[in-house]
Amino acid sequence: MEPILQIQHVSIDFTQYESRKGTSRRCLQVIRDLSLTLYPGQVMAVVGASGSGKSLLAHGILHILPYNSHMRGEILYNGEPLTKERAKRLRGREIVLIPQGVTYLDPLMKVGAQIRKGRRDEASRRMSREALGRYGLSPDTEDLYPFELSGGMARRVLIAAATVEKPRFVIADEPTPGLDTVSAGRILAHLREIADAGAGVLLITHDLELALRIADRVAVFYAGETIEDAAASDFADPSLLRHPFTKALWHAMPGHGFRTIAGAQPYPGTAERGCPFVSSCVDCVDKCREAEEIAPRYVRGGWVRCLRVQQDTTEAGTENGDLGEGMEE
């Protein structure tokens, strides 16, 4: 099958003034050398801590980045470069963004009009009612203003608005925060349905546990780098995972031992060289600190950015023991 989206070596920089008063600028690399491939019918979760620049990825794909950021690398949609003009033509139709929250709805416009994008003909009315119905919202919802919606309803309205025209590629940017488990589960189930209907879904979230419920593949972000790109099924057992941080994530789940490691995740772009995980990694060696660049390696059907993981798969299994001992109890 042809991939629907290919992200190749994409980096996003931020230009900022050093301080509020200063005149010198600095450049922060928030996303570094990101490569992903998404197939139709697949849900790909991009998981990273909040404030780690994940939303910029969505904005970068759609070419709606803020003025002080800059993107390098290549994005292919349906095998062809997704240029600014092409993105402009396709977004809202074939490529849609399900944004984070109610603030993305126009507060002065009724829900129905927003879903129909202002059109009033009978066909669009029918389509908008269908879209609402698909997500368990009654036709009356059309006549409500955004402030009259609860958090969960607003998310469903956003999904309905995004999927009126049967998109082929959907980006969902943090669709669940602030929702209780039941409502969040419902939203995720809808995303799964969209993928099952043949679209590619890129789910950007900080919540690994929720992402694992619907994702086919998971890309883990750490300090602006994708340190691992694994199948969701690999998370069934930590020995199937590759990067020490991903393993640490697994062990840190409340249901999996709630184990911690030392150190804190650095702010993206602050590490100048070497592996960003060195301060927390128990398994690191000198070359991890000194390497100019750590290229992703292909290991057991997934990608990992770690010098200590052998590209040859036979020895990888023994590493779990080492990591387990280093954990703080």
């Binding site: 230009t15 900022q16 003034y17 200063g22 005149t23 600028r25 002080n68």
Partner: protein
């Protein structure tokens, strides 16, 4: 060079120009009033770049003196206005809902009357002249800045970090110094700088209409209103150059304020 360095250089140059205008204007004030009937109604030349008027006064010197006076009045009125705005805004935001309602009502009331009308009325009530204009302009321009200060402080008081500081037992004074001032002051200064062009224009218009400074004073408003009588006889230079210089000063001030705002506004701070 980036945006901020450019802004900084622009500020330096603009402030220097305005400062020089004030100082030079003060020195030529005497000379500007000298009449010499041997050189009446001369069009602009190298010797008299802005020409001379029907009493033989050098229009260049008169304009300089006028601008200097305008800027000084602008500084004075803007400072008074800003002080009033700050005190009232602060009171409205911190002294409870009754004081707030009262002050907000005053703000709406003053804003509801067209500026120029209010300035005229107050100026007449205060006996026109320098006092009249200064009181008039100062008392009519504080409203928008007061509203800004009030809104900013009200918003800050609800900010989680302020609430947290309060519950951690940080004293009111320390809260004001650490959290409120650093947020409000830049906004306030921007507002203050943006008040100048308004104050200057209103001073000139009220004087032009005859409700402001007296005709002996070398004010731009006086120059412009006098020149109206001679415009029809082809003495275009009497109005054109003083008018343009006034516009130049006003635009300079407003650019200064804009630069400041761009620097401090989070939405464009990194440009």
């Amino acid at each position: 060079m980036n945006g901020r360095k450019g802004t900084l250089i622009f500020w330096g140059v603009a402030s220097l120009i305005l400062f020089c205008l004030v100082v030079i204007g003060l020195f030529v004030e005497e000379a500007a009033t000298v009449t010499d009937f041997s050189r009446t109604n001369l069009p602009p030349s190298l010797q008299y770049p802005f020409g001379t008027d029907w009493m033989g006064r050098d229009m260049f010197q008169r304009t300089l003196a006028g601008l200097s006076l305008s800027i000084r009045i602008g500084l004075l009125t803007a400072a008074v206005s800003a002080a009033v705005a700050f005190v009232l805004g602060l009171c409205a935001a911190t002294l409870g809902s009754r004081v707030d309602a009262c002050i907000s009502w005053c703000i709406d009331w003053v804003m509801g009357i067209p500026h120029i009308l209010l300035v005229m009325l107050i100026s007449i009530a205060c006996g026109r002249g320098f006092t009249g204009v200064v009181v008039g302009v100062a008392l009519s321009h504080w409203t928008s800045l007061a509203r800004l200060v009030r809104g900013e402080i009200l918003q800050l008081r609800q900010a989680p970090y302020m609430l947290a500081a309060e519950k951690l037992g940080v004293s009111r004074l320390k809260q004001a110094g650490r959290h409120v001032m650093p947020h409000v002051l830049p906004q306030f200064i921007t507002g203050l700088v943006l008040l100048f062009p308004h104050a200057i224009l209103h001073e000139a218009s009220v004087t032009f209409l005859g409700f402001g400074l007296s005709s002996e004073q070398p004010a731009i408003g006086v120059i412009l209103s006098e020149s109206m009588r001679y415009l029809t006889t082809g003495k275009w230079w009497l109005a054109l150059f003083p008018g343009l210089s006034l516009v130049f000063v006003v635009v300079l001030f407003s650019l200064l304020g804009d630069g400041l705002r761009r620097w401090l506004d989070p939405a464009s701070a990194h440009r």
